[in-house]
Protein backbone atom coordinates (compact mmCIF):
# COMPACT_ATOMS: atom_id res chain seq x y z
CA UNK A 1 0.00 0.00 0.00
CA UNK A 2 1.32 3.41 -0.83
CA UNK A 3 1.33 5.98 1.90
CA UNK A 4 -1.57 7.83 0.35
CA UNK A 5 -4.35 5.61 -0.91
CA UNK A 6 -6.98 8.29 -1.28
CA UNK A 7 -9.70 7.19 -3.59
CA UNK A 8 -11.05 9.47 -6.31
CA UNK A 9 -12.87 12.42 -4.88
CA UNK A 10 -16.60 12.33 -4.71
CA UNK A 11 -17.03 14.68 -7.63
CA UNK A 12 -15.29 12.39 -10.10
CA UNK A 13 -17.05 9.35 -8.83
CA UNK A 14 -20.44 10.85 -9.20
CA UNK A 15 -20.04 10.91 -12.98
CA UNK A 16 -19.00 7.25 -13.01
CA UNK A 17 -21.84 6.23 -10.81
CA UNK A 18 -24.32 8.27 -12.76
CA UNK A 19 -23.23 6.44 -15.87
CA UNK A 20 -23.59 3.09 -14.18
CA UNK A 21 -26.98 4.01 -12.84
CA UNK A 22 -28.41 4.69 -16.28
CA UNK A 23 -27.84 1.03 -17.05
CA UNK A 24 -30.36 -0.05 -14.49
CA UNK A 25 -33.80 -0.59 -15.84
CA UNK A 26 -37.03 0.95 -14.78
CA UNK A 27 -38.24 -2.29 -13.28
CA UNK A 28 -35.89 -1.67 -10.35
CA UNK A 29 -37.82 1.42 -9.46
CA UNK A 30 -40.17 1.20 -6.58
CA UNK A 31 -42.99 3.67 -6.24
CA UNK A 32 -41.92 6.37 -3.84
CA UNK A 33 -43.67 6.56 -0.54
CA UNK A 34 -47.31 7.37 -0.95
CA UNK A 35 -49.47 9.11 1.55
CA UNK A 36 -49.62 6.28 4.04
CA UNK A 37 -52.83 5.32 5.71
CA UNK A 38 -52.66 6.81 9.19
CA UNK A 39 -52.68 3.53 11.04
CA UNK A 40 -52.01 -0.11 10.71
CA UNK A 41 -50.69 -2.14 7.84
CA UNK A 42 -50.66 -0.32 4.55
CA UNK A 43 -53.40 -1.27 2.14
CA UNK A 44 -51.57 -3.09 -0.65
CA UNK A 45 -52.49 -1.82 -4.04
CA UNK A 46 -52.59 -4.33 -6.85
CA UNK A 47 -49.58 -3.21 -8.78
CA UNK A 48 -49.16 -4.48 -12.34
CA UNK A 49 -46.76 -7.21 -11.26
CA UNK A 50 -49.33 -8.44 -8.76
CA UNK A 51 -52.08 -8.40 -11.38
CA UNK A 52 -49.97 -10.65 -13.56
CA UNK A 53 -49.32 -12.88 -10.61
CA UNK A 54 -53.02 -13.21 -9.88
CA UNK A 55 -53.75 -14.08 -13.48
CA UNK A 56 -50.95 -16.63 -13.60
CA UNK A 57 -51.90 -18.33 -10.38
CA UNK A 58 -55.59 -18.27 -11.31
CA UNK A 59 -54.78 -20.07 -14.53
CA UNK A 60 -53.33 -22.96 -12.56
CA UNK A 61 -55.95 -22.91 -9.85
CA UNK A 62 -53.41 -21.74 -7.27
CA UNK A 63 -54.99 -18.58 -5.96
CA UNK A 64 -54.69 -19.97 -2.44
CA UNK A 65 -50.93 -19.69 -2.92
CA UNK A 66 -51.36 -15.95 -3.24
CA UNK A 67 -53.39 -15.68 -0.08
CA UNK A 68 -50.78 -17.78 1.74
CA UNK A 69 -48.12 -15.34 0.65
CA UNK A 70 -50.22 -12.43 1.76
CA UNK A 71 -50.76 -14.16 5.10
CA UNK A 72 -47.03 -14.58 5.56
CA UNK A 73 -46.48 -10.95 4.67
CA UNK A 74 -49.09 -9.86 7.17
CA UNK A 75 -47.86 -12.10 9.96
CA UNK A 76 -44.28 -10.99 9.53
CA UNK A 77 -45.51 -7.42 9.81
CA UNK A 78 -47.15 -8.33 13.11
CA UNK A 79 -44.03 -10.16 14.27
CA UNK A 80 -41.93 -7.15 13.39
CA UNK A 81 -44.38 -4.95 15.22
CA UNK A 82 -44.12 -7.10 18.34
CA UNK A 83 -40.36 -7.19 18.15
CA UNK A 84 -40.14 -3.44 18.08
CA UNK A 85 -42.90 -2.81 20.59
CA UNK A 86 -44.85 -0.89 18.04
CA UNK A 87 -47.28 1.68 19.34
CA UNK A 88 -49.13 1.08 16.08
CA UNK A 89 -50.68 -2.09 17.45
CA UNK A 90 -51.98 -0.18 20.42
CA UNK A 91 -53.29 2.42 18.08
CA UNK A 92 -55.12 -0.24 16.09
CA UNK A 93 -56.79 -1.27 19.34
CA UNK A 94 -57.62 2.31 20.10
CA UNK A 95 -56.02 4.38 22.81
CA UNK A 96 -57.66 6.96 25.01
CA UNK A 97 -54.75 9.40 24.64
CA UNK A 98 -54.42 9.35 20.84
CA UNK A 99 -53.57 12.77 19.49
CA UNK A 100 -53.41 14.43 16.10
CA UNK A 101 -49.87 15.40 15.27
CA UNK A 102 -48.72 17.22 12.16
CA UNK A 103 -45.14 16.51 11.26
CA UNK A 104 -43.14 18.44 8.70
CA UNK A 105 -40.66 16.01 7.21
CA UNK A 106 -38.42 16.77 4.23
CA UNK A 107 -40.55 19.77 3.38
CA UNK A 108 -43.90 17.97 3.45
CA UNK A 109 -46.50 18.15 6.19
CA UNK A 110 -48.46 15.10 7.17
CA UNK A 111 -51.11 14.74 9.85
CA UNK A 112 -50.93 11.56 11.90
CA UNK A 113 -53.00 10.13 14.70
CA UNK A 114 -50.55 8.94 17.29
CA UNK A 115 -50.33 7.54 20.77
CA UNK A 116 -48.26 10.14 22.68
CA UNK A 117 -45.74 7.39 23.45
CA UNK A 118 -44.74 7.20 19.77
CA UNK A 119 -41.16 8.25 19.21
CA UNK A 120 -40.34 10.39 16.20
CA UNK A 121 -38.35 7.40 14.95
CA UNK A 122 -41.38 5.11 15.02
CA UNK A 123 -43.62 7.76 13.46
CA UNK A 124 -41.16 8.17 10.57
CA UNK A 125 -40.65 4.48 9.99
CA UNK A 126 -44.05 3.03 10.73
CA UNK A 127 -46.50 5.81 9.88
CA UNK A 128 -44.76 7.83 7.20
CA UNK A 129 -42.96 4.99 5.43
CA UNK A 130 -39.62 6.74 5.75
CA UNK A 131 -37.58 3.70 6.66
CA UNK A 132 -34.20 5.21 5.84
CA UNK A 133 -33.86 6.29 9.45
CA UNK A 134 -32.85 3.18 11.40
CA UNK A 135 -33.65 1.81 14.83
CA UNK A 136 -30.51 0.49 16.48
CA UNK A 137 -30.56 0.61 20.27
CA UNK A 138 -33.70 2.75 20.71
CA UNK A 139 -31.99 4.32 23.75
CA UNK A 140 -29.89 7.16 22.35
CA UNK A 141 -26.68 5.19 22.45
CA UNK A 142 -25.95 4.26 18.83
CA UNK A 143 -26.97 7.18 16.59
CA UNK A 144 -28.59 5.05 13.86
CA UNK A 145 -31.79 7.08 14.29
CA UNK A 146 -30.13 10.48 13.83
CA UNK A 147 -32.25 13.08 12.01
CA UNK A 148 -32.09 16.86 11.70
CA UNK A 149 -34.60 18.92 13.64
CA UNK A 150 -34.50 22.58 12.67
CA UNK A 151 -31.08 21.91 11.20
CA UNK A 152 -29.62 20.23 14.30
CA UNK A 153 -28.78 16.56 14.63
CA UNK A 154 -30.75 14.71 17.30
CA UNK A 155 -31.63 11.14 18.25
CA UNK A 156 -35.14 10.52 16.92
CA UNK A 157 -35.58 7.51 19.23
CA UNK A 158 -35.55 9.81 22.28
CA UNK A 159 -37.70 12.48 20.64
CA UNK A 160 -41.43 12.11 21.14
CA UNK A 161 -43.27 12.60 17.86
CA UNK A 162 -45.78 14.96 19.47
CA UNK A 163 -42.93 17.12 20.79
CA UNK A 164 -41.57 17.43 17.23
CA UNK A 165 -44.75 19.06 15.96
CA UNK A 166 -43.99 22.45 14.44
CA UNK A 167 -40.36 21.64 13.75
CA UNK A 168 -38.68 21.06 10.40
CA UNK A 169 -37.47 17.50 10.26
CA UNK A 170 -35.00 16.22 7.68
CA UNK A 171 -34.27 12.53 7.27
CA UNK A 172 -31.81 10.71 5.02
CA UNK A 173 -34.53 10.67 2.35
CA UNK A 174 -34.47 14.47 2.33
CA UNK A 175 -30.74 15.00 1.69
CA UNK A 176 -30.65 14.36 -2.04
CA UNK A 177 -31.99 16.98 -4.42
CA UNK A 178 -34.54 14.59 -5.87
CA UNK A 179 -36.32 11.66 -4.33
CA UNK A 180 -35.30 9.42 -7.21
CA UNK A 181 -33.25 6.72 -5.52
CA UNK A 182 -31.44 5.93 -8.77
CA UNK A 183 -30.36 9.45 -9.57
CA UNK A 184 -26.96 9.41 -7.96
CA UNK A 185 -25.93 12.76 -9.37
CA UNK A 186 -28.41 14.44 -7.09
CA UNK A 187 -27.05 12.95 -3.89
CA UNK A 188 -25.69 15.35 -1.32
CA UNK A 189 -21.90 15.83 -1.13
CA UNK A 190 -21.80 13.76 2.06
CA UNK A 191 -23.76 10.89 0.51
CA UNK A 192 -21.39 10.91 -2.47
CA UNK A 193 -18.38 10.95 -0.18
CA UNK A 194 -19.64 7.87 1.67
CA UNK A 195 -20.02 6.11 -1.69
CA UNK A 196 -16.61 7.21 -2.90
CA UNK A 197 -14.84 6.15 0.27
CA UNK A 198 -16.84 3.02 0.98
CA UNK A 199 -17.90 4.42 4.36
CA UNK A 200 -19.89 1.37 5.39
CA UNK A 201 -20.01 -2.37 5.44
CA UNK A 202 -23.50 -3.63 6.23
CA UNK A 203 -24.96 -0.15 5.82
CA UNK A 204 -27.36 -0.21 8.74
CA UNK A 205 -25.79 2.69 10.62
CA UNK A 206 -25.07 4.62 7.41
CA UNK A 207 -28.15 6.88 7.22
CA UNK A 208 -27.45 8.03 10.77
CA UNK A 209 -23.74 8.45 10.01
CA UNK A 210 -24.49 10.56 6.93
CA UNK A 211 -27.06 12.77 8.66
CA UNK A 212 -24.72 13.22 11.59
CA UNK A 213 -21.76 14.04 9.34
CA UNK A 214 -23.90 16.51 7.40
CA UNK A 215 -24.68 18.35 10.63
CA UNK A 216 -21.02 18.11 11.65
CA UNK A 217 -19.97 20.15 8.62
CA UNK A 218 -22.54 22.79 9.43
CA UNK A 219 -21.43 22.97 13.08
CA UNK A 220 -17.79 23.23 12.07
CA UNK A 221 -18.55 25.99 9.56
CA UNK A 222 -20.12 27.96 12.41
CA UNK A 223 -16.93 27.52 14.46
CA UNK A 224 -18.46 25.24 17.09
CA UNK A 225 -16.06 23.43 19.39
CA UNK A 226 -15.60 19.84 20.45
CA UNK A 227 -13.63 18.56 23.43
CA UNK A 228 -10.78 17.85 21.02
CA UNK A 229 -10.73 21.56 20.08
CA UNK A 230 -10.06 22.41 23.73
CA UNK A 231 -7.50 19.65 24.13
CA UNK A 232 -5.70 20.64 20.95
CA UNK A 233 -5.72 24.31 21.96
CA UNK A 234 -7.63 25.18 18.76
CA UNK A 235 -10.60 27.13 19.99
CA UNK A 236 -10.78 29.63 17.15
CA UNK A 237 -12.56 28.02 14.21
CA UNK A 238 -11.04 24.55 14.68
CA UNK A 239 -10.18 22.65 11.52
CA UNK A 240 -11.49 19.17 10.91
CA UNK A 241 -8.50 17.03 11.77
CA UNK A 242 -9.08 13.30 11.95
CA UNK A 243 -9.17 13.57 15.75
CA UNK A 244 -11.86 16.23 15.44
CA UNK A 245 -13.87 14.09 13.02
CA UNK A 246 -13.66 11.05 15.31
CA UNK A 247 -14.75 13.03 18.36
CA UNK A 248 -17.55 14.80 16.49
CA UNK A 249 -18.80 11.50 15.03
CA UNK A 250 -18.63 9.65 18.36
CA UNK A 251 -22.41 9.63 18.67
CA UNK A 252 -22.65 7.20 15.76
CA UNK A 253 -21.60 3.64 16.39
CA UNK A 254 -20.67 1.23 13.56
CA UNK A 255 -20.68 -2.42 14.57
CA UNK A 256 -18.86 -3.35 11.35
CA UNK A 257 -16.05 -1.01 12.32
CA UNK A 258 -16.02 0.95 9.07
CA UNK A 259 -14.62 3.91 10.98
CA UNK A 260 -11.46 4.53 8.89
CA UNK A 261 -13.55 4.89 5.74
CA UNK A 262 -16.18 6.96 7.52
CA UNK A 263 -13.47 9.37 8.66
CA UNK A 264 -12.10 9.44 5.10
CA UNK A 265 -15.55 10.21 3.72
CA UNK A 266 -16.15 13.05 6.16
CA UNK A 267 -12.67 14.42 5.53
CA UNK A 268 -13.28 14.39 1.76
CA UNK A 269 -16.74 15.93 2.00
CA UNK A 270 -15.39 18.68 4.25
CA UNK A 271 -12.77 19.53 1.63
CA UNK A 272 -15.36 19.48 -1.14
CA UNK A 273 -17.77 21.71 0.74
CA UNK A 274 -15.16 24.25 1.82
CA UNK A 275 -13.49 24.30 -1.62
Amino acid sequence: MSSNTEKPVAGNLSAELREASTESTDQDRRPMSREGSPCGVRQEELEPEHAEEVEELGRYGLLTELSRRRFIQASSAVAAALTFDMPKLLEAQGTENAASVTLNVNGKSQMLTLDPRTSLLDALREQMELTGTKKGCDHGQCGACTVLIDGRRVNSCLTLACAAQGAEIVTIEGLAKTSDSKDIADLSPMQLAFLAHDGYQCGYCTPGQIISATALLNEQSKGELSLVSWQAGKTERPELTDDEIRERMSGNICRCGAYPNIVAAVRAAAKEVSA
Binding site: G140, R153, L158, T159, A163, E224, L225, W230, T235
Partner: protein, 339 residues
Protein backbone atom coordinates in the same frame (compact mmCIF):
# COMPACT_ATOMS: atom_id res chain seq x y z
CA UNK B 1 -43.67 2.53 28.20
CA UNK B 2 -46.65 3.36 30.39
CA UNK B 3 -49.39 5.47 28.92
CA UNK B 4 -49.40 9.22 29.61
CA UNK B 5 -51.09 12.39 28.47
CA UNK B 6 -49.07 15.05 26.66
CA UNK B 7 -49.52 18.78 27.21
CA UNK B 8 -47.52 21.53 25.58
CA UNK B 9 -47.28 24.72 27.65
CA UNK B 10 -46.15 28.17 26.59
CA UNK B 11 -45.82 30.05 29.88
CA UNK B 12 -44.33 29.34 33.29
CA UNK B 13 -47.76 29.83 34.85
CA UNK B 14 -49.27 27.22 32.56
CA UNK B 15 -46.37 24.88 33.30
CA UNK B 16 -46.83 25.16 37.08
CA UNK B 17 -50.57 24.66 36.70
CA UNK B 18 -50.14 21.58 34.50
CA UNK B 19 -47.63 20.16 36.97
CA UNK B 20 -50.30 20.01 39.67
CA UNK B 21 -51.58 16.77 38.14
CA UNK B 22 -50.47 13.85 40.26
CA UNK B 23 -47.68 11.95 38.49
CA UNK B 24 -46.83 14.82 36.14
CA UNK B 25 -43.29 15.35 34.86
CA UNK B 26 -41.77 18.23 32.93
CA UNK B 27 -40.36 17.24 29.53
CA UNK B 28 -37.36 19.22 28.26
CA UNK B 29 -34.73 17.49 26.10
CA UNK B 30 -36.06 14.11 27.13
CA UNK B 31 -32.71 12.39 26.68
CA UNK B 32 -32.82 10.87 30.15
CA UNK B 33 -36.55 10.94 30.96
CA UNK B 34 -37.81 9.32 27.73
CA UNK B 35 -35.08 6.70 27.99
CA UNK B 36 -36.06 5.84 31.57
CA UNK B 37 -39.73 5.77 30.55
CA UNK B 38 -38.87 3.12 27.96
CA UNK B 39 -37.33 1.06 30.76
CA UNK B 40 -40.38 1.82 32.94
CA UNK B 41 -38.08 3.23 35.61
CA UNK B 42 -39.95 6.51 35.18
CA UNK B 43 -43.72 6.24 34.81
CA UNK B 44 -45.21 9.73 34.59
CA UNK B 45 -48.94 9.82 33.94
CA UNK B 46 -48.70 13.25 32.38
CA UNK B 47 -45.87 14.91 30.44
CA UNK B 48 -45.75 18.68 30.47
CA UNK B 49 -43.68 19.78 27.46
CA UNK B 50 -41.83 22.92 28.57
CA UNK B 51 -39.66 23.24 25.46
CA UNK B 52 -41.61 26.26 24.25
CA UNK B 53 -41.15 28.37 27.38
CA UNK B 54 -39.04 31.52 27.00
CA UNK B 55 -36.11 30.10 28.97
CA UNK B 56 -33.52 29.61 26.24
CA UNK B 57 -31.37 32.75 26.60
CA UNK B 58 -27.94 33.41 28.07
CA UNK B 59 -27.62 36.91 29.52
CA UNK B 60 -24.75 38.89 30.97
CA UNK B 61 -25.60 40.01 34.52
CA UNK B 62 -24.78 43.42 35.97
CA UNK B 63 -22.48 41.92 38.59
CA UNK B 64 -20.33 40.32 35.88
CA UNK B 65 -21.85 36.86 35.99
CA UNK B 66 -24.24 35.24 33.56
CA UNK B 67 -27.76 33.84 33.69
CA UNK B 68 -28.35 30.66 31.73
CA UNK B 69 -31.97 29.87 30.86
CA UNK B 70 -33.04 26.39 31.90
CA UNK B 71 -33.79 25.45 28.28
CA UNK B 72 -30.41 26.45 26.86
CA UNK B 73 -29.17 23.28 25.17
CA UNK B 74 -25.87 21.79 26.26
CA UNK B 75 -24.29 22.34 22.82
CA UNK B 76 -25.35 26.01 22.75
CA UNK B 77 -24.11 26.61 26.28
CA UNK B 78 -20.72 25.03 25.51
CA UNK B 79 -20.33 27.24 22.43
CA UNK B 80 -21.66 30.54 23.71
CA UNK B 81 -19.00 33.28 23.35
CA UNK B 82 -19.32 34.32 27.03
CA UNK B 83 -18.96 30.74 28.21
CA UNK B 84 -16.01 29.99 25.95
CA UNK B 85 -14.21 33.16 26.97
CA UNK B 86 -14.95 33.27 30.71
CA UNK B 87 -16.11 29.81 31.78
CA UNK B 88 -14.04 27.42 29.70
CA UNK B 89 -14.30 24.95 32.59
CA UNK B 90 -18.02 24.68 31.87
CA UNK B 91 -17.53 24.43 28.10
CA UNK B 92 -14.94 21.67 28.52
CA UNK B 93 -17.19 19.78 30.94
CA UNK B 94 -20.23 20.01 28.67
CA UNK B 95 -18.28 18.85 25.65
CA UNK B 96 -16.95 15.90 27.68
CA UNK B 97 -20.46 14.57 28.12
CA UNK B 98 -22.67 12.46 25.86
CA UNK B 99 -22.65 12.85 22.05
CA UNK B 100 -23.26 15.83 19.74
CA UNK B 101 -26.82 14.61 19.11
CA UNK B 102 -27.61 14.31 22.82
CA UNK B 103 -25.98 17.67 23.62
CA UNK B 104 -28.20 19.29 20.97
CA UNK B 105 -31.25 17.94 22.80
CA UNK B 106 -30.24 18.05 26.47
CA UNK B 107 -31.14 21.21 28.38
CA UNK B 108 -29.39 22.95 31.27
CA UNK B 109 -32.29 22.26 33.65
CA UNK B 110 -32.64 18.68 32.49
CA UNK B 111 -28.95 18.02 32.99
CA UNK B 112 -29.37 19.08 36.64
CA UNK B 113 -32.19 16.54 36.95
CA UNK B 114 -30.26 13.64 35.39
CA UNK B 115 -30.66 10.41 37.27
CA UNK B 116 -27.94 7.95 38.16
CA UNK B 117 -26.62 5.46 35.63
CA UNK B 118 -26.37 2.72 38.29
CA UNK B 119 -27.22 -0.46 36.36
CA UNK B 120 -29.34 -1.73 39.22
CA UNK B 121 -31.43 1.44 39.09
CA UNK B 122 -32.03 1.43 35.34
CA UNK B 123 -32.85 -2.29 35.11
CA UNK B 124 -36.21 -3.05 36.67
CA UNK B 125 -35.23 -6.73 36.56
CA UNK B 126 -33.39 -6.08 39.82
CA UNK B 127 -35.88 -5.72 42.61
CA UNK B 128 -33.44 -4.29 45.14
CA UNK B 129 -32.92 -0.58 44.52
CA UNK B 130 -33.69 1.93 47.21
CA UNK B 131 -33.71 4.75 44.70
CA UNK B 132 -36.25 3.17 42.35
CA UNK B 133 -38.10 1.06 44.87
CA UNK B 134 -37.67 2.63 48.33
CA UNK B 135 -36.96 0.17 51.12
CA UNK B 136 -35.99 -2.69 48.80
CA UNK B 137 -32.25 -2.69 49.50
CA UNK B 138 -29.23 -2.13 47.25
CA UNK B 139 -28.15 -4.67 44.64
CA UNK B 140 -25.06 -2.65 43.74
CA UNK B 141 -23.38 -2.95 47.13
CA UNK B 142 -22.40 -6.57 46.56
CA UNK B 143 -22.89 -6.49 42.80
CA UNK B 144 -20.78 -5.11 39.97
CA UNK B 145 -20.03 -1.71 41.44
CA UNK B 146 -17.35 -0.36 39.10
CA UNK B 147 -19.09 2.96 38.42
CA UNK B 148 -20.28 3.53 41.97
CA UNK B 149 -19.62 5.96 44.79
CA UNK B 150 -16.62 6.16 47.08
CA UNK B 151 -17.68 9.28 48.98
CA UNK B 152 -20.82 10.34 50.81
CA UNK B 153 -22.64 7.06 50.22
CA UNK B 154 -24.99 5.35 52.67
CA UNK B 155 -23.79 1.83 53.39
CA UNK B 156 -25.78 -0.11 55.94
CA UNK B 157 -25.61 -3.43 54.12
CA UNK B 158 -27.38 -4.73 51.01
CA UNK B 159 -30.76 -5.25 52.65
CA UNK B 160 -31.03 -1.89 54.41
CA UNK B 161 -33.66 0.48 53.03
CA UNK B 162 -31.15 3.33 53.35
CA UNK B 163 -28.17 1.94 51.46
CA UNK B 164 -27.25 3.63 48.18
CA UNK B 165 -23.90 3.86 46.41
CA UNK B 166 -25.17 5.50 43.23
CA UNK B 167 -23.26 8.35 41.59
CA UNK B 168 -24.51 11.46 39.85
CA UNK B 169 -23.53 11.10 36.17
CA UNK B 170 -23.33 14.72 34.99
CA UNK B 171 -20.22 16.50 33.76
CA UNK B 172 -21.91 19.90 33.50
CA UNK B 173 -22.87 19.81 37.17
CA UNK B 174 -19.30 19.15 38.30
CA UNK B 175 -18.12 22.32 36.58
CA UNK B 176 -21.10 24.26 37.96
CA UNK B 177 -20.28 23.05 41.47
CA UNK B 178 -16.70 24.29 41.11
CA UNK B 179 -17.99 27.60 39.72
CA UNK B 180 -20.43 27.92 42.66
CA UNK B 181 -23.47 28.36 40.43
CA UNK B 182 -26.94 29.08 41.77
CA UNK B 183 -30.22 27.61 40.62
CA UNK B 184 -33.35 29.70 40.11
CA UNK B 185 -36.62 27.85 40.58
CA UNK B 186 -40.27 28.81 40.43
CA UNK B 187 -43.04 27.01 42.29
CA UNK B 188 -46.62 27.54 43.24
CA UNK B 189 -45.33 29.20 46.41
CA UNK B 190 -43.16 31.65 44.46
CA UNK B 191 -39.54 31.89 43.37
CA UNK B 192 -36.41 30.87 45.24
CA UNK B 193 -32.69 30.53 44.65
CA UNK B 194 -30.79 27.38 45.61
CA UNK B 195 -27.00 27.32 46.08
CA UNK B 196 -25.49 24.64 43.88
CA UNK B 197 -24.14 22.69 46.83
CA UNK B 198 -27.65 22.48 48.30
CA UNK B 199 -29.43 21.39 45.13
CA UNK B 200 -28.26 17.78 44.84
CA UNK B 201 -28.51 15.56 47.90
CA UNK B 202 -26.45 12.79 49.40
CA UNK B 203 -28.56 9.63 49.80
CA UNK B 204 -28.75 10.00 53.60
CA UNK B 205 -31.67 7.91 54.79
CA UNK B 206 -33.75 8.54 51.63
CA UNK B 207 -31.91 7.56 48.43
CA UNK B 208 -35.07 7.98 46.35
CA UNK B 209 -34.63 11.75 46.37
CA UNK B 210 -31.88 13.10 44.12
CA UNK B 211 -32.42 16.81 44.73
CA UNK B 212 -34.00 19.28 47.11
CA UNK B 213 -36.41 20.49 44.44
CA UNK B 214 -39.96 20.52 45.77
CA UNK B 215 -42.86 18.90 44.02
CA UNK B 216 -44.09 20.91 41.05
CA UNK B 217 -41.14 23.34 41.11
CA UNK B 218 -39.75 24.43 37.75
CA UNK B 219 -36.07 25.22 37.21
CA UNK B 220 -35.96 28.50 35.29
CA UNK B 221 -32.26 29.38 35.21
CA UNK B 222 -28.74 28.75 36.45
CA UNK B 223 -26.61 31.75 37.34
CA UNK B 224 -22.83 31.86 37.42
CA UNK B 225 -20.94 34.45 39.48
CA UNK B 226 -18.36 36.72 37.82
CA UNK B 227 -15.62 34.58 36.32
CA UNK B 228 -12.50 33.93 38.38
CA UNK B 229 -11.00 31.03 36.44
CA UNK B 230 -11.17 32.23 32.84
CA UNK B 231 -7.42 31.79 32.37
CA UNK B 232 -6.72 28.73 34.48
CA UNK B 233 -9.28 25.97 34.16
CA UNK B 234 -9.18 22.30 33.31
CA UNK B 235 -11.85 19.60 33.22
CA UNK B 236 -10.38 16.11 33.48
CA UNK B 237 -12.49 13.07 32.74
CA UNK B 238 -11.25 9.49 33.18
CA UNK B 239 -13.43 6.91 31.49
CA UNK B 240 -13.36 3.47 29.91
CA UNK B 241 -13.68 4.90 26.40
CA UNK B 242 -12.20 8.19 25.27
CA UNK B 243 -15.50 9.67 24.11
CA UNK B 244 -19.22 9.18 24.69
CA UNK B 245 -18.87 7.43 28.03
CA UNK B 246 -19.69 8.36 31.61
CA UNK B 247 -16.91 9.34 33.98
CA UNK B 248 -15.23 6.87 36.29
CA UNK B 249 -13.94 9.99 37.95
CA UNK B 250 -13.86 13.56 36.72
CA UNK B 251 -12.30 16.72 38.12
CA UNK B 252 -13.27 20.33 37.49
CA UNK B 253 -10.34 22.53 38.51
CA UNK B 254 -10.25 26.31 38.33
CA UNK B 255 -7.47 28.52 39.71
CA UNK B 256 -7.39 32.25 40.24
CA UNK B 257 -3.71 33.14 40.13
CA UNK B 258 -1.91 36.16 41.56
CA UNK B 259 1.57 36.08 40.13
CA UNK B 260 2.93 32.67 40.98
CA UNK B 261 0.65 32.07 43.94
CA UNK B 262 -2.91 30.89 44.09
CA UNK B 263 -5.53 33.38 45.13
CA UNK B 264 -8.62 31.19 45.04
CA UNK B 265 -9.71 27.78 43.80
CA UNK B 266 -12.80 26.07 42.42
CA UNK B 267 -12.54 22.30 42.75
CA UNK B 268 -15.16 19.56 42.40
CA UNK B 269 -15.29 15.91 41.42
CA UNK B 270 -17.73 13.80 39.43
CA UNK B 271 -18.29 10.06 39.33
CA UNK B 272 -17.45 9.61 42.99
CA UNK B 273 -20.61 10.51 44.89
CA UNK B 274 -24.38 10.94 44.79
CA UNK B 275 -23.75 14.61 43.96
CA UNK B 276 -20.88 16.66 42.57
CA UNK B 277 -18.26 16.37 45.32
CA UNK B 278 -16.91 19.65 46.57
CA UNK B 279 -15.12 20.26 49.89
CA UNK B 280 -14.52 23.99 50.52
CA UNK B 281 -11.62 23.16 52.89
CA UNK B 282 -9.75 21.55 49.99
CA UNK B 283 -10.10 24.76 47.99
CA UNK B 284 -9.13 26.96 50.94
CA UNK B 285 -6.04 24.85 51.64
CA UNK B 286 -4.52 26.18 48.42
CA UNK B 287 -5.22 29.89 48.97
CA UNK B 288 -1.98 31.89 49.04
CA UNK B 289 0.07 28.80 48.19
CA UNK B 290 2.29 28.02 45.23
CA UNK B 291 1.00 25.83 42.42
CA UNK B 292 3.07 22.76 43.24
CA UNK B 293 2.28 19.03 43.00
CA UNK B 294 2.81 18.75 46.80
CA UNK B 295 0.21 21.41 47.55
CA UNK B 296 -2.20 19.93 45.02
CA UNK B 297 -1.64 16.50 46.58
CA UNK B 298 -2.63 17.84 50.01
CA UNK B 299 -5.80 19.34 48.55
CA UNK B 300 -6.56 15.96 46.96
CA UNK B 301 -6.15 14.23 50.35
CA UNK B 302 -8.66 16.64 51.90
CA UNK B 303 -11.10 16.17 49.01
CA UNK B 304 -10.86 12.35 49.22
CA UNK B 305 -10.89 12.20 53.03
CA UNK B 306 -13.05 9.31 54.21
CA UNK B 307 -13.27 7.65 50.78
CA UNK B 308 -14.38 4.05 50.90
CA UNK B 309 -14.37 1.72 47.90
CA UNK B 310 -15.96 -1.63 47.06
CA UNK B 311 -14.88 -4.75 45.24
CA UNK B 312 -14.89 -3.23 41.75
CA UNK B 313 -14.33 0.48 42.38
CA UNK B 314 -11.48 0.68 44.91
CA UNK B 315 -9.24 1.86 42.08
CA UNK B 316 -11.22 5.10 42.02
CA UNK B 317 -9.66 6.39 45.26
CA UNK B 318 -6.12 6.56 43.88
CA UNK B 319 -7.36 7.52 40.40
CA UNK B 320 -9.27 10.42 41.93
CA UNK B 321 -6.24 11.69 43.90
CA UNK B 322 -4.01 11.52 40.83
CA UNK B 323 -6.76 13.13 38.76
CA UNK B 324 -7.09 16.07 41.14
CA UNK B 325 -3.33 16.74 41.05
CA UNK B 326 -3.22 16.47 37.26
CA UNK B 327 -6.27 18.69 36.70
CA UNK B 328 -4.91 21.38 39.04
CA UNK B 329 -1.46 21.15 37.43
CA UNK B 330 -2.92 21.60 33.94
CA UNK B 331 -5.15 24.42 35.15
CA UNK B 332 -2.11 26.17 36.62
CA UNK B 333 -0.38 25.93 33.23
CA UNK B 334 -3.16 28.06 31.83
CA UNK B 335 -4.06 25.85 28.92
CA UNK B 336 -6.67 23.27 28.10
CA UNK B 337 -4.16 21.59 25.83
CA UNK B 338 -3.23 18.03 26.62
CA UNK B 339 0.11 16.79 25.35
Amino acid sequence: MKSFTYTRVTSNVQALEAAKVRGASFLAGGTNLVDLMKYQVEQPTSLVDINHLALADIKQDEGGGITIGALVRNSDLANHPLVRANYSLLSQALLSGASPQLRNMASTGGNLMQRTRCYYFTDVGFSACNKRNPGSGCAALEGYNRIHAILGQTDKGPTSGETCIATHPSDMCVAMAALQAKIEVEGRGGKRTIAFADFHRLPGSDPSRDTTLREGELITAVTLPAARFSKNAFYLKARDRNSYAFALISVAAGLEMEGSSIRSVGLAMGGVAHKPWRVPEAEQSLAGKAATPENFGRAAEILLHGAHGYEYNRFKIELAKQGVVRALTLAAQGTSEVA
